[in-house]
Symmetry: C5
Subunit: 339 residues, 5 copies
């Protein structure tokens, strides 16, 4: 159960970054809370313009409610914005569409999951993230640079955002894939007690990734022609592309789980092999020397009448017998392929 | 198979708590059986009012039948109210809707499952529980405090009740998650015969939780616009939210099952490791001393003609040979990484 | 593969028990083959009456064909009546409905599966069983005693019959649940070679039960309003109840399978533990005495010049050394937590 | 991957057996290639007659093409007739229906899969098999003997053919079930290295059977009223019966797979048990004699001053001590339940 | 995660091979970039002609964009052409249909996956591959030789291409099947530490093959009559055939996975067997010689008063006792079936 701390614990102002663009124009500015404490004008969007409002960092409940009022967003959606403990999902409401996704990336060895909300309205896109994320950096540049992108509607921007997030999944999966390969090599070299813990750690990451990607398959529901007026028909192939990537990412997690459980087998097999090797050494040493020790024991007995003891050849013959016994044993082990 | 004892074994009066509210008013009172033994007036609800009737504690069959008659509830539903051995489910009947759920919480180490029935009519909600439950306490307070909540219909109250119950699932799952983490630490420290039993106990709890949550996915059926007149369109986003939480809880149980079966692997791996360690000690001691014992056995023989025995250097040379043999063995073990 | 012997091998007359009832009347009689060898009048049912014809025991092919002709039942259904090797199923034909179920109960330790056919016509119910079953005894009594039951149609009788059969499943599942608990205790106490066989036996029973319950989910198809004229709308909630019980029984078999495979793990774990214990004893004894035996071997050598042998303190010092070695070993084992 | 050799490698004439029947008439004859080398008249079927043309043995490509032309069969179907490497399937074409099935039977210990094509036209059925199969023998007799069968259309003949083939599956499954039971007994008696290979062999057969039966579930598609004009409504219950048998056969394969994987567990458990037994013997012998050998070693030492050696009671006391040690050890093993 | 290098890294010209055919004509030529650097005329296709344009080798982005413009292909499809990291899929666009498939074949021991795009327009087919593939060689010949093939539309050509690719899958699966059989033989002969790695390598190949074949089931969507105008009804049986082959290939991968996991069991079982054998040898040798060594130790003691030592028969009697003890031991092992 991961109940991450609620968004908006802190009361400092978030950064509200605004992209206002049409085919010809592209204005970028940060909202100036000192000059305009009220957000009413946030929703005044010029005709044929698209506005992307990216709210980064912790938000107070009041601020979120105000944004909700300005854009006529359902109170439940606003309420859930503050709750990072939500499942990824795609939901349609009257007049807007809510996409809850998770940005996933590795920070060192730890998997970081960042809750990201995307709200799509008729001519605006609202995004809410926890940190000053740079996954969207490339999108910022493309909007500024590419008139074709700017000529497309707000729904195309949602596609770009989803695409950037889903691309991030592949980086994570590639890292996990590399970890699995490394672990395989390490297990083959020298199996240790820690390997199963490492397999477990990777598996936990994989389960976590899977849990966040899996529900995103629902973006497929956006592609249904009748379902939403907010998605233009020309955006559908793009969403289908994102959908294909999501399915591919899910496939990869399945493959990795298979490979991981195979690693556990490899680990157990190696433990068994080592046990075999240990037993083999013990058995070889024991079975060679136990009979020999018996033989020398025989001639260590103190019976008065042991004819062999008085023969000159007794001692060398015993040695000869012992050498023969050893050789027979060694041949037996060779035959058994233990040597 | 858990056939819990039937509700209503005892014949004492249950507590019938009534919330009668509209946007402006909120009356709370307990039904007074001494002054009004007949329940007919229970269904006299003022226009635009919503009435929540919470029946707590054991009910006699006659009382339940009377409630059924007063609210025109299908006899089968009334019959089933007394049967805790029911599956969670959502069912629609003529004029009312029955939601059977299970409150789940930990009482000490034991998982307690409490059967809870919610009946939604046009302007009333009936709830039947076994004990004086306080999961609904927060809802009582909200109804008294929040006019917005009171302005909404009976279906919104059902949402609040479901939400409170489902929130309880997450507490249980968090506890189970903590148990799994503790068990993992304990297994890594010192694997004992009891660990598999503990894994099994957690698994049983998980199976039980899963069995009760799984059928609740059916609340989705309430969200279908045509399906019920009792659910207003504005309640749908809220039910969808509850549905998402249920799916999330189910996801968590799946994840935990995966982690649990991984724990069993860890347990078996640790047993194997310990066996390896035991064998290693045995093998090292045996393979060092068995050849040495053989050597001293040789010179314990009583042959008349053993030239070495009469040499002054005989005894120290044997010691030297034995030291060399020991060192060779130890180097061999070092090479094998057993030391 | 269980191809049980075909019904109707024997040529003796079966018992044909007839319940002819309406709200006011309830006639019960056995068909008298001596006075009326032809069954034509069997289908003469008074208006508003329901007739339940319970055919118990082996039937000849001719008799079945005659019943088929009298009630206009499809020849294939009649043909299949004699074949116990059928799957449980719900099928609709022109003018009647065929429900094939299996009564399941324990006879001692053996699971008995009894093939039961229920045919529902407009105003009659035909049931065919193999033995003089008493699962239906309570239904007989209810028909005689309860006018409300008699006032309902033939489809309600089918509900009562199904309900009685499904209730029997829970008894079987409870028994199996008890067996699993007993086995768990027995495995924890002393794992023997037979336990896996017992797990296997329970699993076979569970597979068998599951195979017979699983297809019964199809009763859901009866609840679809358009599907059948033979089922009245007011019977639907009752059938839904039976359906819920069936799903619950299937859930239980799933849970038990999970618990059973966990038992196999427990069994393997216990074997491993015992091996560990055996190895520990061997290793402790060996590693303490092998070095000691080496030491005494040293002073058993017959070298002429072994200075220690001639010292008065030689013997006690050797003992002292051996005691020290033993104590060191024992401390080592304590540290390893083997003692 | 089983790419069996293509049908029609050889150029010899196949046997073309023709059943031409109506309610009153039943003509059976073999096609005489010497008198009528052209097959045109094969499709001249008298009104209200049904013709079953059973082509047995290898066919040349030309012959198949000619049959295809005569009966207006899609070239792809004709092409596939020669390819035994096809999946079982049910396909509808313009004016005819193609059912590809596999006859499965044991020839000694080997599972034989025989590719069988059934083509259903308006008033004819074409069957293509590889060998002079006698699975259809009973159908030949029924057509000759039973006017009721002859009065039914070509689709009923297809039912009879499918029923005969599916019945064959149960024989195979019963054999496999018997093999599993035998193997279980054999494993319990004396586990050998070969048992896992035998489990594997049975599993391969089961996989093969399953692969051929599984796609046949598609016959269900024939029962859909609108789907085909070639299937009369009165044939539907019969097809449903075949469908039920197929589902039952699939169920059985599932059950057998479960039982088989349980057998592997049994096998591993028995190996472990035997290891336990071996270790127990080793440990008992070792732990009894190693301390005794140490004791006798002590008094084999050659110290000048060992007071015990000179006592008359020394020797018997040592024996007494050794007997006591042995008894203590044996009691210890009894307590551990190793004896 | 396999992100193969992007198509079109190099800037050299690809080979553009053009088949322009109708029932009567078949022109084949390579596009001459030197004489016609612009590709406009590529789309000038004579009436009733079909043009197959096969682009082999790396393409520059500009060239692909130009082809896209000429044939009015959606920019996203053109963009994805350069991305080998795509999932196999079937997608419909306005006026054309995109099929992304993977050619799979073994190059030595390595599995090679070649990304192949097929675009179907009204009267043309565009194919993009990475290398000068010869899987299509047979199709080239058939187009030249077979007027019937030429008389069919562009959609039939797509069928031929898909069929050739899917046929390639069976070759790969047959190779993998052979590898599994070889591995089984090798494991039975002598289990080594490498076998689990080999199982793992085959499993990885199988997962890879499965991942590429699985999404191709979507070709089924082409068979739906309403779905596409580009697919003629007469092509449907052919596509259904391809679909059946794909399903068959997927079935085979499932079967192989089952067999592979059985191999891992076999491997573990063999390790256990060998351990058993080693332990048996150790136990037999130890339990025979340890008691004997004890006996000779007894008579190695130096007690003054050991009556046996002075008897003439002492020594031979001890030998006799030891022979008897050995025989008893050997008989015990015979009874245990260890010898």
């Amino acid at each position: 159960m991961e109940r991450e701390k609620s968004l908006g614990e802190s009361e400092e102002w978030p950064s509200i970054e605004i992209f206002d663009y049409s085919t010809d124009v592209c204005d970028i500015f940060l909202w100036d809370f000192s000059s305009s404490p009220r957000l009413d004008s946030l929703a005044d969007i010029a005709e044929k313009h698209v506005r992307w409002i990216n709210v980064d960092g912790p938000c107070s409940e009041e601020l979120l409610n105000e944004i909700g009022t300005v854009f006529h967003i359902h109170p439940l959606v606003i309420h859930n914005l503050r709750n990072q403990f939500q499942r990824a999902k795609v939901e349609e409401y009257d007049g807007f569409l809510s996409v809850v996704t998770k940005m996933i990336y590795f920070t060192g060895d730890a998997l970081t999951v960042e809750h990201t909300n995307i709200l799509l309205g008729h001519n605006y896109v609202l995004t809410f993230g926890d940190t000053k994320g740079d996954v969207f950096e490339s999108i910022r540049r493309r909007i500024q640079a590419d008139a074709r992108v700017r000529s497309m509607g707000a729904d195309h921007l949602v596609y770009l955002l989803l695409d950037a997030i889903v691309d991030g999944y592949f980086d994570v999966l590639e890292t996990i894939g590399g970890q699995i390969d490394d672990l395989e090599d390490s297990i083959m070299e020298q199996t240790t007690k820690q390997h199963l813990l490492q397999i477990r750690a990777i598996k936990k990451n994989l389960l976590r990734v899977n849990r966040h990607i899996w529900p995103l398959r629902n973006v497929a529901s956006l592609m249904d022609k009748e379902s939403s007026e907010l998605i233009h028909p020309e955006t559908e192939p793009y969403l289908r592309d994102v959908y294909n990537h999501i399915v591919q990412a899910i496939d990869s997690t399945e493959t990795y789980r298979d490979l991981l459980s195979g690693l556990a087998d490899l680990h157990f097999s190696n433990i068994s092999y080592r046990m075999n090797e240990i037993m083999k050494v013990l058995t070889i040493i024991s079975t060679i020397f136990i009979p020999l020790t018996f033989i020398v024991g025989v001639y260590g007995m103190n019976f008065k009448y042991m004819p062999e003891l008085n023969q000159t050849w007794g001692y060398p013959v015993v040695w000869a017998v012992m050498v023969v016994v050893s050789i027979v044993m060694i041949l037996f082990f060779k035959k058994k392929k233990w040597l």
